[in-house]
Each structure stands twice: as structure tokens, then as C-alpha cells.
Amino acid sequence: MSLLDTVRDAAGRLTGHPEPGAVPDPLIGKPGAIGRSLPRIDGPRKVRGAARFAAEVPADGLLYAAVAYSAIARGRIAFLDTTAAERAPGVVLVMDHRNAPRLKPPALFMTKPQAAGASDLPIMQDDSIHWNGEAVAVVLAHTQEQAEHAAALVRATYEEAPATLDFEAAKRRSRHPDSVMGEKPVLEQGDAERALADAPVSVDLIFRTPRHSHAAIEPHAVTAWWEDGALVLHDATQVLNGVRWTLADMFGIAEDRVRVLSPFVGGGFGGKGSLWSHQVLAAAAAKLAGRPVRLNLSREGVFRLAGGRTPTEQRVALGAREDGTLLSLIHTGCVAMTPHNNCPEQFTFPARHLYRADAIRLEQSVADMDMLANTFMRAPGESVGTFALECALDELAEKLSLDPIELRRRLEPERDPTSGHEFSSRHLLRCFEMGAERFGWHRRAPTPGTRREGEWQIGLGVATATYPYQRMPGGAARIVLNRDGRAVVSMASHEMGMGTATAQSQAAADRLGLPVEDVTFEYGDTSLPAGTIAGGSSQTASIAAAVAAAAAVLATELLKLAGNDSPLAGLGVDEVEMRDGGIGAREQPDRHERYDSILRRAGRDELVADAKAPPPRELKRWSMHSFGAQFCEVRVSAVTGEVRVSRFLGAFDCGRILNPRTAASQFRGGIIMGLGLALTEETQFDPRSGRIMNPSLAEYHVPVHMDVPPIEVVWTEQPDPRAPLGARGIGEIGITGVGAAVANAVYNATGRRIRDLPITPDKLL
């Protein structure tokens, strides 16, 4: 070990991050607040209806906005008549492309470090139309009723241009995207097609998944105003700093002239993870009117202006030896996208990391369409990719006369099959063992269609769940230690229901050696140190790494303050740890001084430590993924084809669980969204007009109480030695594998393989 490595490792004992991941986080295995099922810190506010969301921020002179939407998919506005709207009672102004402030196009997500544009199309800058439902005018009025009435009076005629609106047709002109979230669109190891042709046992299948909508119950909303040329935006967002930077860039003002606040978000699931046009329109209209503006999208408006998950057509082909080991694994396919965005729905990602195969071929294409930009929705790629891959494995297992779990056991790789990296921590088979035992997997009838109670056919299905560990670069945290020994930890991060403030208070308490009651976690405001996107199940790790870095700075400063009159005198930062409300020497229980004592002696009211998280280099060194096993029991009516999910269990391997109560809710939430993906959800897109036909929660069917059985969740509790806190994210893995577990259960119940989602009754009759 070099001298430099030694120094890094010493520092790492305190921070967990010399070279990120090289030394396990010292909090792993340490008793404390982490692991306790604390109730949500914001629970009382939420149950009282006292949590303030973006559309609920009072403002003097507030104007209400309503949007008029285009009725064509592509072309230009030939004639726009806003006079009736302008004359309608209560209307203050109508904004359209002729009077909207001149703005740069939004910088597309991933093209710059803080870029958050869902698309790089200009927003209301000219008469061109790019999708059916694009905003053509925004009306501002004194009340919402007045604004909506006036928006209905806006008259537009169009010159239509030919548009690509049919996925089937668009697929024939598909292309490879430049990258699939940083990975190459084509990955080949060996000659997988040849190996497939030569394999003694094989399946070669096509799967289709439809468009999906996030359908968060809180519609996207902003309340915006300008003060002396600076913008204040109360937003419902998962990407505070991205919205700030991108808006500042569009309006041509300094980043610090934009403040975005979002302390509560009424569900996101990726749908609020970008800058969409409505935030820009609200800010522009507020600037034009010189007054605060509230734009609370209608439910239809959410479907028209904020994109969802794109449709996929996937091929999975598996060639196996008689013992089940894979000679060939092929996963290819195409999704709809636009030339103006970059969300290729990475459905091949599970196949890159899950199973051992002699030859692998993965390929993703995109078909350009004239539609609202699609975007990431809970486990983009993995949710629909595991549907295809895990159904195909079920079909292969049947051909091999193998139990589906046994097949997966035989495919377990030693190292990551495509990167060759060592897994940081992988306990997939343990998930199957735990789940099978608790769920009663042995009761599954190997022959489909053989269990029946009256009209109800009963079946069990299983599938692998997986989602990558991710940690985003660019985060920073601040710790303010007060004279009374309490700490305030802050970072511009997000709470959409994950329990961020609760879990992060627990983590910070253990990091600082404080009781959790003495730690406050502040978030949701860009005036705090930079946060990272609440997406990719990354936020927990991103915050934890920044807080650990700030804690290391704090420790260094505390040792300086402590000076020679302290029991800590002479100790270096690598010889101490934060414990029992202060700093103490490692392995010397008596050598310790409390924070309040250090600050009081130094005559300080507070001590502030700021630090940036180290770049997420652990992602380059190890294959870091979460795993799970999803078990489903369905009852299928032989009369109506109705599928009822009667039992469900998810067993997960996600590293350390910070708060079992909130974690269980995250897992269940993902599973329930997966039940919708499996059985009911489809955003219907008219291939003639390009218009979304069911922009409503009455016609876009999310699971309701009656659709949700008791869901059991268990976990391996194996900490990941390469991740901060030993924890990998848990927000998205819950939805993965669910579609396949349901479809495989439906097959076991009925003998029918449904490869097109959702599994609606018509497909079973």
C-alpha cells in the first residue's frame, strides 16, 4: 500500500470515503438510530393536511393560470385568436408565442451537469407545434374559474405537417441512440445468434409494454413570482438544482437569481424529475404580468404537458443446455422517443447484470415519433425489461422441466457478466430462499391450470427483481452544530414520500454520534447546499456521502477548537470518532469531549461545516446492484378473465435498511405500481391524431384499494461494504419483476402466456 493509500484509508475510517467504497462505512454494524422503525417526522403535518405543497403557497396579488393546448401533433399555428379570452371577465393577460418573453431552449437532461430539460424544444417561442397537446396559450385571471373559462375561448387554426404517430410504422425507421443512459446501445459477447440456433433448448419471444403515466395524485404545480429580477419558484419537483440551473440559463440570469422551493411533493415517480414546459410558462407569465402566478395543471394538463413511460417492443431469446445453463442470452428491442429528448428506456439493463451466459447480445433502438417527450418513470428500463426477461426465463424453465427458482440458481454468475467487475454485494439466491419459504412456493402446481376453486383458477409466479445502485455527483451538505450540542444538517434534497427527512435524520444522528432527537434535517430549497436529483434510487446514498464528508470537516474543525485543554489534545482526525454527543478517541472510552463543551470553551455559538460529496467512483470499481425475488399468487376467473392478485411477497437485497417502517412502504409502493403495470395501466395514444385518449384518472387505471392484497416484504439485511451507510437505494426495485411475477402466475393458473401488457380480461378469454 502506498503512503497516499494509507492516508486515504485513515481518513476513510472517519468518513467512509477515502477512495469511495474502498473502506466500508464505519457506521455499518454500529448500533444507533439507523435500523429503527421511527414514524415519519412529517407525519403529523401530513395527516392534518398542514404540509404545504407547491400550489398552496399564498402570494399577494396572485393570478391563476390555465392552458390552451394544441389540437394537432405537428405543423404550425396558422391563426390564433385570443381576443375573446382577453375580454373575458377577470382576465389579466393571455400569453402566447407572440408576446412570451424570449427564452433560450431548455438544456436537455444529461447534456450539462445541472441540465434538467425533459426536451430541448423551445417553449412558446414561435408558431411551430411539436406534439398534440403542446401549450399554445396561457391565460392569467383573478380566479381559476375565470382562467379556465377564458382558456376555452382561445381559438387556433393550424397548418398541419405530416407527423409520425404510429409506433409500428416508426419502428421501421428506428435508430440506435448515441447512448443508453451512458451505456452503448449494442453489447455483444460471442456470437449469441449462432449459439441460440445451435442450442438444444431455446425460447425466442416478443414482449410488448404500453405507455404508462406516473399519475402522482398531486398534479404538477408551480407558484412563481419575480422580485427585482430574481425568480422565486415554488415547485413540485424531484430535481431542485436542475430546475434552478436550467431556468436561469433559459432566462439568461445568474443561477443565484433563481430560488426553487419544494418541501413537499405529492408523489413523483420520475414524472417530476425534469423541467417541463409548465414551470417555464408559469415563470414567463409571471414575468410578463409582473405578478405572482399559480399554474396548477389540470389532470388533463398533466397528461398533455408532462410525459410518461414510453412503449417498448422487446425480443428475448434464450438458448440453453439441458441443465439450464445458458449458451445464449439475447435481449433486443425498440422504444418510442423523440429527436428532442434522450430517455431510451434502458430495458436491456437487467440482462447486463443478472445471469451467466456464454454469449450475450443486447441491443436497444429508438423510433422517433411526434409526441410529448417520454421520460423516466419508476425503474425506467428495469420495470419493463424484467417483464420480458423474467417471463422468458419462466418459459425456458418450463421447457427444461425445471423449477423457475432452480433455473435462476444455475445461472448465478461469479462476477458481473458484462462488466466483469466484482459484485459489491449480491444475495439474490438468498432472496429466493427467504421468499419461497415464507410464501409457500412448494405449493405451486408444476402443471398449469390444475388448481381451481369454483370459477377461480389459482396460480403462483415468481420473478427476479433488480435495480442498480446509483449515487449522483455534485451534492453538498452543511452541518451546523449549535452550542447546545444539537445539529442541523441541510442539503437541497427532496421528499416525495420516501421519508427523506426521517431516514436522513437517523443517518446523520449516527454519523455525528447524537440522539436522533437532536438532529434536524433541512431540505427542499435551493438556498441550501446543492442537492442531487431524487431519481435513480440515488438520493439516500447521495445525501449520506455528502453528510459524511461534511462530518469529516466538522471533526477536523472541532479538534482545532478543542485545543490543548481538551482530553482530545494531541489526537489527529484519523484517531477519533464522533460518539456520545461529542468526539472521542478510538478505542479509549474515557478520552472524549462533548460538542457543547468544546463550543462553550471556545466561546462559539455554532460551528459550520460544508463539504461536497466525493465523486461516485465506487460505481466504476464494483458492480453494485440491488436484487429481489417477487412472489405472486393470482386468482383468474374462468368466466370473465378477471385477474385478482390474492397474495404477494417481495424479498429484497438492498444493503442496510435505514428505517424498516418507511422502507417497507417504499417496497410495497413499488410492488403496487407493478401490479398496475401488470394488469391495468395503459396510456392510450391515438395513432391517427397523436392525442392521448385517456388523460384522466377515471380512464387511466391505477390500482385501487380493492386491487391491493396484503403485501409481505422481507429483506436480507446484508450491508453493502461499498455504499455509504451500507445502503443501496430502495425506491425503484419494488416495481421490477412484478409484471413478470404476475404474468407467470397467470400462466400457472390458466396455461395462457400473455406477453402484451397489461393483462386485461379480453386477452384471457
Binding site: 414514524p39 415519519r40 412529517d42 407525519g43 403529523p44 403535518r45 401530513k46 395527516v47 392534518r48 393536511g49 398542514a50 404540509a51 404545504r52 405543497f53 400550489a55 399564498p58 380566479t143 381559476q144 374559474e145 373559462h149 399519475a215 402522482a216 395524485i217 398531486e218 398534479p219 411533493v265 405529492g266 408523489g267 415517480f269 396548477n296 389540470s298 389532470r299 416525495m496 414520500g497 420516501m498 421519508g499 424498516p660 418507511t662 417497507a664 412502504s665 417504499q666 410495497r668 409502493g669 413499488g670 410492488i671 405500481m673 384522466s696 384518472l697 377515471a698 390500482p703 385501487v704 384499494h705 380493492m706 391491493v708 396484503p710 403485501i711 409481505e712 416484504v713 422481507v714 419494488g734
Partner: protein
Amino acid sequence: MPILVNDRPVFVPDDARVSLLDLLRDRLELFGTKKGCNQGACGACTVLLDGERVLSCLTLAAQCEGRAVVTVEGLAADGALHPLQQAFIDHDGFQCGYCTPGQICSAIGMAAEAARGMPSVVTADLEATDILLDRDELRERMSGNLCRCGAHNGIIDAIGEVFRGPESAGGAPR
């Protein structure tokens, strides 16, 4: 005649188009009642009107003249929590908290309906006067209140505990 909102008299708005929901949110700044769809599909705006659950987005404010409206803000005295609000916390019956006020108001109205002997589609005995709110009854009767975070198990557990008692709650494991 004014509308009584959480025991406070409120004048009926001049504009006949104003829904009870927009009256509460835009004019009274009672933001606890949520707007999820404004078309009666999600239940987030559920409030109690003369003790019955209604969708405030589909109720015109003018219809409420002389009637009593209770919103989530009016369920408990200042600082206190209604037992159902506490049960939602105990059972983690929410994540983002946006559908929560509607779920809670709806559950209170639902329990009153059941107590009056109103059957649901899963009630076996339509003439029963004493309806046991088992898990299926609760799931059926609460299905008009959507939750997208997936807190359904906790919501049903919380409602079951308050309106049926903890011994028979039959909660979701773990």
C-alpha cells in the same frame, strides 16, 4: 345562509361556478383538502358535508348553503389528532401525504355509512344491520380514494384499527 366550514360561517361565493373544493382552497386557504383530478376520479378532495363524505370537486359551493362542512383541518381540536390521524401515522398509511386528507375524511364518512347499515358490493347479507368492516369491506368501500405511493395496506390497517378494533385488524405483515 352561510356555509358552516369547520364551525366557521362562510359566505357563499358570488360566482356560481365555484366548487366547494375551490372555495376551500382558493378562497379560504384551507389547503388540507387536495385537488387531484377535479373530476371525481381520485377522492383526494373528499370532505364531510353534514357528516356524509362528498367529493368537494363535484360539489358546487352554492349547494352547501346552510350546511356544515368538515375538512381535515376540522377533525380535531388545535394541536390534537383525531384517532384515525394517529392511526395513519402508526401504520404508515401514507407516503407523500397528498391523498391522505381525502382518505381520512372518506374513512370517517365510510364508517358512518356502514353504521347506518348501508351495504357495499361485497356485503354478503344485504339486510344485515350490523356490518362487520372486515378487510374486504374496507378495501371495497375505500376504493374511491386513490393512492399512488402504494400505502394501501397501511391505510386499511389504520382504518380497521380505529373502526373495528386492533384485535381484528389483520394487518399486513411487517
